[in-house]
């Protein structure tokens, strides 16, 4: 491996960690989201987590596409690239592959990442570049004022679907897993502690990290997630995934998830002959993505909605393999000799 960064110091290019504060990551640009938008909370958590790992501002690049969420880079006092709609993963790939020392973040929306940008997303994921992708899922197009997105529910009436959506929504985590993601997680804009933890875990993961954050768009899709994320119901309607722990949830922690013999997940009450050991134990590190895939597909109201880390496994990263090829080529062929290659091939001399 060519880079001397390790997972805990990604983006320092071998320099010693520095002590910065949240404020160091706040840029001088006025934040321009609608008052009350969930984007504010996510911004705050990211700015808070950044200094925790001693990461240097100059080694961080935030790349985004287009959308409300994609204004994010302007507000980070790091390098930033507000690119074009859907293409942030491709720009980030160029950045990371050309300079593996950088800590590269992709900020994207449900339309940006899954509609126009779906293909770049899955290819960036399968290549397992060490980049962190945070998808702000508000299940709507915010910036263009309220059309449905690939995560909008069937039947939803929006500006472009006055008679209701007729496309089945995509499940972002399933898509990421099917695209061979090595780190997949989910959190919620308003669950600040959890969100911080997830951002930190994403940063620590070496390889691609895909994080879906449920984000409220209070203008065009207000309360889209309240049904299960609201303070009073979330313990009963969401489940927090913890590695190695059985899948238990509920205010009383008396319900769990079990695998039926016909390979269907079911919600069960603990007690009455059902014990913790009957439940599925969460395993982030499973070499197969089966379990993560099943969990990713649990939806309210049939199931509690899972948050946390679904999958976290190690594979070589694209940039490391690329750097390795470069280094091996230099070893085997010697460092590039321009005069040599120009003069190679079948040559002859005219006198």
């Amino acid at each position: 491996m060519s880079t001397n960064t390790d997972a805990n110091q990604g983006g320092n290019g071998g320099q010693p960690p520095v002590k910065l504060t949240r404020k160091d990551f706040v840029s001088d640009q006025e934040v321009r989201w609608c008052p009350g938008c969930g984007d504010y909370a996510i911004l705050a958590q990211v700015q808070k987590v950044m200094p925790e790992l001693g990461i240097r501002r100059e080694n961080v690049v935030f790349v985004s596409g287009i959308g409300c969420s994609s204004r994010f880079p302007y507000y980070m006092n790091t390098y930033g690239f507000h690119s074009i709609h859907g293409r942030a993963p491709a720009v980030a790939t160029g950045i990371k592959a050309s300079n593996p020392e950088l800590s590269v973040w992709v900020i994207t929306g449900d339309g940006d990442a899954l509609s126009i940008g779906g293909n770049h997303l899955i290819h960036a994921i399968r290549r397992n570049l060490d980049i962190n992708i945070i998808l702000f899922n508000n299940r709507i197009y915010g910036l263009t004022k309220g059309q449905y997105s690939p995560t909008s529910e069937m039947g939803k009436r929006t500006k472009s679907t006055p008679f209701g959506v007729i496309d089945y929504p995509l499940n972002p985590l399933s898509v990421a897993l099917a695209a061979e993601a090595t780190f997949v997680a989910r959190s919620v804009d308003t669950h600040t502690q959890h969100l911080q933890m997830i951002v930190q875990r994403a940063m620590e993961h070496k390889g691609v990290s895909f994080v879906e954050v449920y984000q409220n768009c209070n203008i065009f899709n207000d309360g889209a997630f309240d049904m299960f994320t609201a303070r009073d119901v979330k313990e009963d309607r969401m489940i927090e995934l913890e590695h190695g722990r059985p899948l238990i949830f509920g205010k009383e922690r008396n319900r769990g998830i079990r695998m039926r013999s016909d390979m269907h997940l079911e919600v069960v009450e603990l007690g009455n002959g059902v014990s913790e050991s009957d439940l599925i134990a969460h395993n982030e590190k499973a070499p197969d993505s089966y379990l993560a895939y099943m969990l990713a597909r649990m939806e309210y109201p049939e199931y509690p909605v899972p948050v946390g880390v679904f999958r976290d496994v190690q594979k070589s990263t694209y940039e490391d393999l690329l750097t390795e090829q470069v280094e091996r080529a230099i070893q085997n062929m010697g460092p590039g000799d321009l005069e040599g290659i120009i003069n190679s091939g079948d040559t002859w001399v005219i006198e």
Partner: protein, 621 residues
């Protein structure tokens, strides 16, 4: 050496001197015609001829054997003087099967030498080629000097006792048999090809033996069978001394970009999605990892240009390459590169359009796309190499401009340049331009859109540099700060500034030097791959005593400074292009000159004769 003996024998026979010869080898895709042509070319180069070549591949990977779409051709022109094109009409056609005859005969000059492999003229093959009757027998070839040879049979006979190879392998040597014959006919040595065979098949002595035997057998047959009354000699050309190699435009392009990286001291990052006829650049560059070159085969052309933009942002030479349809896909992202003022180079190896068009044929019809194919006022610089060898130099030039002015540059090659080869005088290291492509480092009063007063370039400030943290993107930028700005006056100012950056390049590129007099009756203006045919045609006109000059544009945006003035010094201006008049349109709009367009969109380069005929017409008008 045996072959020397043969050669010496040859000296005794009747030899006729020729100035230049054009040969076309044609056969089925499986017949090895590209190889035959390349070997003949190299040998001719080594004996000191000037040469020019044109391969013609079938569009299908492997069309059915014997079919018309399966015909593969290779034309080469070798000469005792300066030549620039593979020749208009072949003097000699070697046709290895009926389909090859059918496809190529129309091009052979009247009375030309026609050499056919009669063994391939089976009923089945004749039918596949769409022949009702056998042209070798129905008298339809009387206008040519027809030589009917059972090449397959003769080759088998020669190899039968010499090598232990399956019949299929033996038959595969028949192209070398034909090559040997042609070597005799044009008095070329066998050694260069024998050396090549020895090297290439080092590990397969049987194959070496088979090919060498076939080659010699063909040569010996021509010598012995006395089917040719004469053979020919084409003497050395007076070529500039130096070291030469045969190089295709795509190879030269790839090498040029490697050179740019070395000269600039910045790593090269090539992001591309395969597409004919640009893929070879990807293949070439992917082997250059020991230069620190990183190649990235993206999921599509949009991802490729975006990754190149990302790489330029980090201080690499961000490069992407494609052909016409791919350039169309890159349009939106190119706008981003214009707005973010990053030094990205986009190679477009043009092919026949529109749409999927004629993927394996050449055309120059993407110039206006390169100029205007983006939303908004979105100028980029455009350069175009003139010859395969020039691809090397213009690749360097593209990055010189991109990094000096901090803007995207489109590099317009085409299928003819990309696949075509020419002998290229290898430049010495100290002939190469140096250019500075320095990263900006100074955090004091850093402004992302501050400008160099001369070039108007903004600083190349890359991630990893402390104190230069800043944000860029596709929204309109405020002058100096680079912040987002919706201000009306600023917008107009920035639109003008981006245009001015491109315009200023004109002060930094050579003025045009006409080929011929600096004023007169007719000025021919060309660009890109038509350089060879236009120059040759103009030379011919000059030989006829006509007042004709030409200029060739290698910078298309901006134009060289003195173009307008030169246009004014001639009575007539003619613009031959392999499109419907794209440079013509730009020149008319800019200089209001009543230039005449000479368009051709047939997937092929101009013939010299087409050009001279048109020049005569315009001349007299």
């Amino acid at each position: 050496m045996e072959s020397m003996t043969i050669l010496n024998n040859v000296e005794d026979k009747h030899i006729e001197e020729l100035e230049s010869v054009t040969i076309r080898f044609a056969g089925d895709s499986g017949d090895g015609m590209q190889l035959t042509g390349t070997q003949f070319t190299k040998t001719s180069a080594i004996v000191g001829n000037d040469i020019s070549t044109l391969p013609d591949f079938p569009a299908e990977i492997r069309a059915p054997a014997g079919s018309l779409p399966g015909v593969s051709g290779f034309q080469l022109n070798f000469s005792n003087h300066d030549i620039r094109t593979p020749g208009d009409e072949p003097n000699v056609l070697v046709a290895m099967n009926p389909a090859a005859l059918k496809v190529n005969l129309a091009d052979l000059e009247p009375g030309g030498i026609l050499l056919v492999n009669t063994d391939a003229f089976s009923d089945n093959n004749l039918k596949k080629a769409g022949y009702g009757s056998n042209p070798l027998e129905d008298g339809s070839l009387t206008g040519y000097r027809l030589f009917k040879l059972p090449i397959t049979t003769l080759n088998r006979a020669a190899l039968r006792d010499e090598v232990e190879l399956p019949p299929k392998e033996i038959d595969r040597c028949k192209n070398f048999w034909a090559l040997g014959l042609m070597y005799w006919l044009y008095d070329r040595p066998l050694e260069p090809t024998m050396n090549w065979v020895n090297e290439k098949f080092k590990k397969k002595p049987d194959v070496v033996k088979a090919n060498v035997t076939a080659l010699k057998a063909g040569f010996a047959y021509a010598e012995a069978a006395e089917i040719f009354t004469t053979h020919y000699r084409v003497r050395k050309a007076a070529i500039a001394p130096g070291k030469y190699r045969n190089i295709t435009g795509n190879e030269a392009t790839a090498l040029g970009f490697v050179a740019a990286s070395v000269l600039a001291g910045r790593p090269l990052f090539y992001a591309s999605y395969p597409i004919t006829p640009a893929s070879d650049i990807l293949h070439e560059l992917s082997m250059r990892k020991n230069f620190g070159v990183k190649t990235f085969q993206a999921e599509d052309e949009i991802a490729a240009v975006c990754a190149a933009i990302g790489a330029s942002f980090t201080g690499n030479l961000g490069l992407t390459g494609t052909s016409g349809p791919g350039l169309a896909l890159k349009s939106e992202a190119l706008g981003l590169a214009v707005m973010t003022e990053l030094p990205v180079v986009v190679v477009n190896v043009q092919r026949g359009g529109p749409s999927t068009g004629l993927p394996t044929k050449t055309e120059q019809a993407d110039l206006l796309q390169a100029m205007f194919g983006r939303n908004g006022e979105c100028p980029v610089a455009i350069v175009a190499p003139a010859t395969p060898g020039d691809c090397f130099h213009m690749a360097i030039e593209a990055f010189r401009i991109a990094t000096r002015y901090m803007l995207p540059v489109i590099y317009l090659s085409d299928g003819y340049l990309g696949n075509g080869a020419e002998p290229w005088r290898v430049p010495a290291m100290d002939e190469l331009p140096r250019f500075e492509a320095n990263l900006y480092k100074d955090p004091d009063n850093f402004q992302a859109y501050a400008r160099d007063p001369q070039t108007l370039a903004r600083p190349w400030a890359v991630p990893g540099t402390p104190g230069l943290e800043h944000r860029i993107g596709g929204l309109e930028k405020q002058d100096i700060t680079g912040n987002v700005s919706y201000d009306p006056e600023n917008h107009m100012h920035m639109v003008e500034t981006r245009a001015a950056k491109v315009a200023r390049i004109a002060d930094d590129i050579p003025e045009l030097e006409p080929f011929g007099e600096r004023e007169g009756r007719l000025l021919v203006v060309g660009w890109g791959s038509t350089h060879g045919s236009i120059t040759s045609a103009v030379e011919e006109m000059q030989g006829r005593g006509r007042s004709v000059s030409s200029v060739h544009l290698r910078h298309l945006n901006p134009f060289p400074r003195n173009l307008g003035e030169l246009l004014g010094r001639f009575d007539r201006v003619l613009v031959p292009e392999l499109n419907m008049g794209q440079l013509w349109l730009l020149m008319r709009a800019k200089y209001l000159v009543p230039a005449i367009s000479f368009p051709k969109v047939k997937g092929k380069p101009f013939k010299i004769s087409e050009l001279t005929a048109k020049m005569e017409e315009v001349y007299e008008d």
